[in-house]
Amino acid sequence: MTPARKKRLMLVGLMIFGVGVAVALALRAFNSNLMFFYSPTQVVAGEPPKGALFRVGGMVVKGSIQRPGGGMTVRFALTDNRNTITVQYTGILPDLFREGQGIVAKGRLRPDGVFVADEVLAKHDENYMPPEVAGILKKPKGMRTGP
Amino acid sequence: MSLSEFLHMGGYAPYVWPSYGIAALVLWWNLWVPARRLRQVRARLRRRLRREEASR
């Protein structure tokens, strides 16, 4: 490689390295803003700003879905397997909303600890399989999908 | 599975078919534009070539 080319290669390398470091620092600084949602544990610990609109993500606890009044309002428990909070929501739920499913709710924390959501989004997992396979895998209790 | 069942996509037809349609449109357009330009450029060059031969 000629000296001129070597020099240009070094310059390009330095440029990419510099931009990479700058972006990495910026991402570190804004890390909390890049988090799309808080976990129930963070909510219980009081991390989200009081009275502000924020998102909570977790799994809908099996058997916890209630419909008080029988209308569009649902109440369910949301967990990250360490802490659990109660979420209340009025409106149309996405197709994937069901027990044991990951969801993200946006809303405010009421003083009594109930999270009142005005939006519920379903988070689907990264597994894709036919229904028959899913049925077989579900049988042995506690077994994870796949080997 | 019947054709209408297939087209119904388990109720997700309004999401599945537009996805495939938009993809087909974008991918087709991406080939059609350079192909048409190439035809135009070649036709122009050929005309110029003929003119040059005629004037020689």
Partner: protein, 247 residues
């Protein structure tokens, strides 16, 4: 080998060889596309949770992969432009951008069409979706910058710098679902611990990915041929070629 590469890089040879190659590539692409569509839309079973809506995956996922792959090709060509000043690399970098932008656009739109029924929203500003949108802007920036600068060789160098700076976005897109909480789910195919997708669903996905790769190659070759012919319109070989075809 080097000799072959040099011959390939010369415009007349490139034009001739690519012209002979294109019909074969087109046939292979058509075959893979049909196989992928039949496999994805008909043969693959519906997903246990998402039903038939998961079939959007066969457009969405290969498009997203291609949006990253083409960017890496563009940046790689940009590096060659800056260091070795090879003309063909300039054309590869510049003409990859519209194809890459198309795939990024498709990944975003099909993701939106998938997100509405499954997540319950067309769009959220989570790290994965936002970084993919930035990728689209990077592609559009490359296209705009190249068209804004009159001197095309200088323009190619400016584009190369922009493309290389934007490379930092690629690992961010890929790892966004791991580094941050996102609504978008984690990686499926590139996981090593356990198969997260049934084989009957995976095979059409890989076929579609291969088809999209071929498509990129075809679209790029067509654009390169066009660019060469336009740039070298006055050259001897172009006149010869046209005369030859006339005869």
């Amino acid at each position: 080998m080097m000799n072959f590469l040099h011959r390939l890089a010369s415009p007349p040879h490139f034009y001739r060889i690519s012209g002979r190659l294109l019909p074969w590539l087109g046939a292979a692409f058509a075959l893979l596309l049909v196989a992928g569509l039949v496999g994805g839309l008909y043969l693959a079973p519906p997903d246990y949770q998402q039903g038939d809506s998961f079939r959007i995956m066969y457009i969405h996922v290969p498009s997203a992969w291609m949006s990253l792959f083409i960017y890496m090709v563009m940046a790689g060509a940009g590096l060659i432009v800056l260091v070795w000043r090879i003309k063909l690399a300039e054309l590869v970098a510049v003409h990859s951008a519209p194809i890459g932008a198309s795939f990024t656009f498709l990944a975003l739109v099909t993701g939106s069409l998938w997100g509405k029924p499954m997540w319950g929203t067309w769009w959220v500003w989570d790290a994965r979706l936002t970084s993919e949108l930035i990728l689209l802007f990077l592609y559009l920036g490359v296209i705009g910058l190249y068209n804004a600068i009159e001197d095309k060789r200088a323009a190619a160098r400016a584009v190369a710098i922009l493309a290389l700076v934007g490379v930092v976005n690629i690992p961010i897109i890929h790892y966004s679902v791991v580094w941050w909480n996102t609504l978008h789910q984690g990686p499926t195919v590139t996981r090593f611990d356990k198969p997260a997708i049934a084989t009957s669903m995976l095979i059409p996905l890989l076929i579609m990915a291969l088809a999209f790769n071929l498509y990129y190659f075809i679209a790029l070759l067509m654009r390169l041929r066009l660019a060469l012919l336009e740039r070298e319109a006055g050259a001897r070989w172009v006149a010869n070629l046209l005369a030859e075809e006339e005869a």
